[in-house]
């Protein structure tokens, strides 16, 4: 029998068709899929023992407690720390990606002078030469830390050097008793999406402890979730505050009819809001301006005056001034600890030929324009401490240990400045001074982050024992009765997230959804 070309084709075709009924092609496909996804070109995962560490998130001044799963000395996952009495086991959206921040592409690893690589020795020499000439200012973006005490000591020791804090910083002796509030009127503030310690505010709000009235032109996240949204004209928050002041019987307000015309609300709506604030108290008004302070006074708002910190008298240093209060064009050297202050704000105070030195973990924001940028430890890379946020009632002070090593070439900003200025002092001595003052005062209790229950300070045997507890990660919280209530305009933005580098993961919020990771981002879009 002679085979023809047709037979060969038939055999080939038949074999190919028949193979489809065997496992061969499917197994091959399966194997290809598996092998292409498991080769050495895929991203290797960290391998090693998983250990749990506790620390503080220092992306913003709130200092929330963090529980970190770590492998090979690197955090691989974060959750909130329930035993932290202030953050109450919550983190904000950025906090959940904070462990990735030290690897941000804009991470600084060496000093920069006018954008070019320099050395720490050169930077220290330049700082030593400039700071003694004055007038100089040290701007501390996260006041209330032990580092702040060291800066204040530097400012006190050198004539012509002032210690400044951002204009919207809270005050350590003022707190907000949000837990007691039943109604909160927010005049355009991002109460539920970035005001104060975001996770903490939301955890109180979800317990339905307070009603929210949001007065704002745009249907923001807070307005969307508020019990009542007052859609006012843009920029008319202070007018509404004035109208409410009159409706509540106050003086120096704005007649209700006029307030209604200027805000776009009806007089009845303003009157009803005033009635609601009075009848569903304690009520709190948050916003800017004197009218807000007057409203809080009329409403007997749950704003508390904390007792002075136990370490207050032990910390001799320059009194803080608001950076806004410094005369324009008067500063020859600005040392900025942080990256979030807008360049326009810094530059307004500078004299001709002034030098700006920023100490920041990242080369972002104003660092791009500064004369010097010094690399600082990023979150979780050093022993950190944080004062109570102003949206909390009690005074507290937390410490969290480093949970990963800082890269070479990174310096503690306050110690770098003190050393360059020739001032004796270290962060450890400042922290020890605080711990000894707390122990001597016998005030409050300490919650250790590793799961221990809160211990009263008066029950601890020695200051050294308290130091051990604090440096392992703990929060001291005051239990002393708050002083007399006084009234002020609750700071409009207590702990705003920096406009600097959010974690790369959080950029997905911007890029792939209709959400903003920060209130600042939302405002930018608006």
């Amino acid at each position: 029998m002679k085979s023809t070309r047709r037979d060969l084709l038939l055999l080939g075709g038949g074999a190919a068709a028949g193979t489809l009924f065997t496992p061969i092609p499917w197994k091959l496909l399966d194997d290809v899929a598996i092998r292409t996804q498991n080769g050495n070109w895929t991203t290797p995962l960290p391998r090693g023992e998983v250990v749990t560490r506790h620390s503080l998130c220092t992306l913003c001044p709130s200092g929330c407690g963090v529980k970190a799963r770590c492998v090979n000395g690197h955090p691989v996952g974060l959750t909130g720390l329930p035993v932290h009495p202030v953050s109450r086991g919550t983190l904000c959206p950025l906090g959940y990606g904070a462990h990735q921040a030290p690897y941000h592409p804009l991470r600084l690893r060496r000093p920069l002078r006018l954008g070019l690589a320099s050395s720490l020795e050169e930077a220290a020499a330049a700082l030593a030469a400039e700071i003694k000439k004055g007038p100089a200012v040290i701007l501390d973006e996260r006041p209330g830390r032990a580092a702040s005490a060291l800066y204040r000591r530097v400012a006190a020791a050198l004539p012509g050097v002032r210690y400044a804090v951002p204009a919207d910083s809270g005050s350590p002796d003022r707190g907000v008793d949000l837990e007691s509030a039943r109604t909160v009127l927010s005049l355009g503030e991002p109460l539920l999406d970035g005001w104060g310690t975001q996770g903490r505010v939301l955890s109180i709000w979800k317990e339905r402890r307070f009603r929210v009235i949001q007065a704002e032109a745009e249907l923001s996240h807070t307005a969307a979730m508020a019990d009542r949204w007052l859609a006012i004209r843009p920029g008319s928050q202070h007018v509404l505050a004035g109208g409410l002041l009159v409706a509540l019987g106050g003086t120096d307000g704005i007649p209700i009819e006029e307030a209604a015309a200027r805000t776009g609300l009806t007089p009845e709506s303003i009157a009803a809001t005033a009635r609601e604030l009075r009848e569903h108290g304690p009520s709190l008004v948050i916003g800017e301006g004197a009218a807000v302070a007057a409203l809080n006074g009329l409403l007997d708002a749950p704003l508390v005056r904390r007792l002075p910190a136990p370490w207050q008298s032990a910390e001799a240093g320059a009194a803080p001034v608001s950076y806004e209060e410094i005369a324009n064009g008067s500063v020859r050297l600005a040392v900025v600890d942080g990256w979030a202050t807008p360049w326009e704000t810094i530059a307004r105070k500078l004299a001709r030929g002034a030098v700006v030195m920023m100490l920041s973990p990242f080369r972002v924001g104003s660092c791009e324009l500064a004369d010097w940028v010094i690399p600082a430890p990023a979150v979780f890379e050093s022993l950190e401490d944080a004062l109570a946020p102003s949206d909390a009632k009690e005074l507290s002070w937390s410490m969290g240990p480093a949970i990963k090593a800082a890269p070479e070439g990174v310096v503690e900003p306050a110690e770098f400045v003190a050393r360059a200025a020739g001032i004796e002092g270290s962060l450890e001595s400042e922290r020890r001074r605080r711990v000894e003052a707390i122990f001597a005062s016998k005030r409050g209790s300490v919650s250790a982050f590793d799961g221990g229950t809160a211990s009263a300070v008066k029950d601890l045997e020695s200051a050294e024992k308290l130091w051990e507890v604090m440096t392992a990660g703990a929060c001291w919280i005051d239990d002393a009765a708050a002083g007399e209530a006084s009234h002020w305009a609750a700071p409009s933005r207590l702990a705003r997230h920096s406009a600097g580098p959010v974690t790369p993961l959080a950029t997905k919020l911007h890029q792939e959804s209709a959400l903003w990771a920060t209130a600042a981002g939302r405002e930018k879009e608006a």
């Binding site: 292409t36 391998r47 691989v76 959750t79 906090g95 690897y103 939301l202 859609a231």
Partner: protein
């Protein structure tokens, strides 16, 4: 046997996005590729902003976290997958995705009525050093495969191991997905829907609870609840239009 599910309280969700970031960190989702957009990026859990369609002072908005609904019947993605890369685990009720089997045909994406599946258009890449922060329990997916929410299956495996070491079966109290853990307003309840007396199962029977597109009879195991009637009315319209897409036209 369990039937894990969620109830998401939309009256508590402020759209902060903590669940999205926690989900991405837990599941080793790489940082956003510069070219990625809302269609080509990877967000196993995505929070949409929805509106009541009014304008001015009458407008109202809500935030809807959307992820795989873990359909219980006629699971559309499972039935169309030619590679058996999708499987409804009858022991847990979780719809599993096995990227190692996936060929990237994207039939499942076309079949999913909830748009809860994402295709890896780009090679996963992390900035130098950041791979040290990856969760060792979850393998990164490569370019060319589909992924989705699996209720943080790695956490379930870890809980099963712990329970086995203690000589007992795993229960819903032993673990929870990253989004549930992260939500600062605790809007997401998670549990075994077959445990009729559990808090989560009780919430599913609440008159204010609903599921998206029940008319398709997919039996989703993710429930939502809201006291706002207009939000509940969206459920069968499939009309959750994200604001960004509306803005982009």
């Amino acid at each position: 046997m369990a039937r894990y599910g969620m109830v998401i309280d939309l009256d508590r969700c402020t759209g902060c996005g903590a669940c999205m970031v926690a989900c991405a960190a837990e599941n080793n989702v790489p940082p956003a590729e510069p070219r990625a957009n809302q269609r080509t990026g990877i967000t196993p859990l995505r929070v949409y902003r929805v509106s009541n369609g009014e304008s001015g002072a009458a407008e109202r908005a809500a935030f809807v976290p959307m992820m795989c609904m873990h359909c219980g019947e006629h699971t559309p993605c499972e039935s169309v997958c030619p590679q058996q890369a999708v499987e409804l685990d009858r022991a847990t009720g979780i719809v599993d995705q096995m990227p190692q089997r996936c060929l990237g045909c994207r039939y499942c994406m076309a079949a999913c009525p909830y748009h809860a599946r994402y295709f890896n258009w780009f090679d996963p890449a992390w900035p130098a050093g950041m791979e040290r922060t990856l969760n060792p329990g979850v393998a990164p997916r490569t370019r060319g495969v589909v992924e989705k929410c699996d209720f943080c299956h790695a956490r379930l495996h870890a809980a099963e191991e712990r329970a086995a070491a203690e000589g007992r079966n795993v229960s819903a109290a032993d673990w929870k997905p990253a989004c549930v853990e992260a939500c600062p307003s605790q809007a997401i309840a998670f549990g075994d829907l077959d445990e009729r007396e559990s808090e989560t199962a009780k919430l599913t029977r609440d008159p204010q609870s609903f599921r998206w597109l029940v008319k398709l009879h997919t039996d989703p195991k993710v429930y939502y609840r809201s006291r706002r009637a207009w939000v509940r009315a969206l459920a069968d319209q499939g009309g959750a239009v994200p604001r960004k897409e509306a803005r982009n036209g």
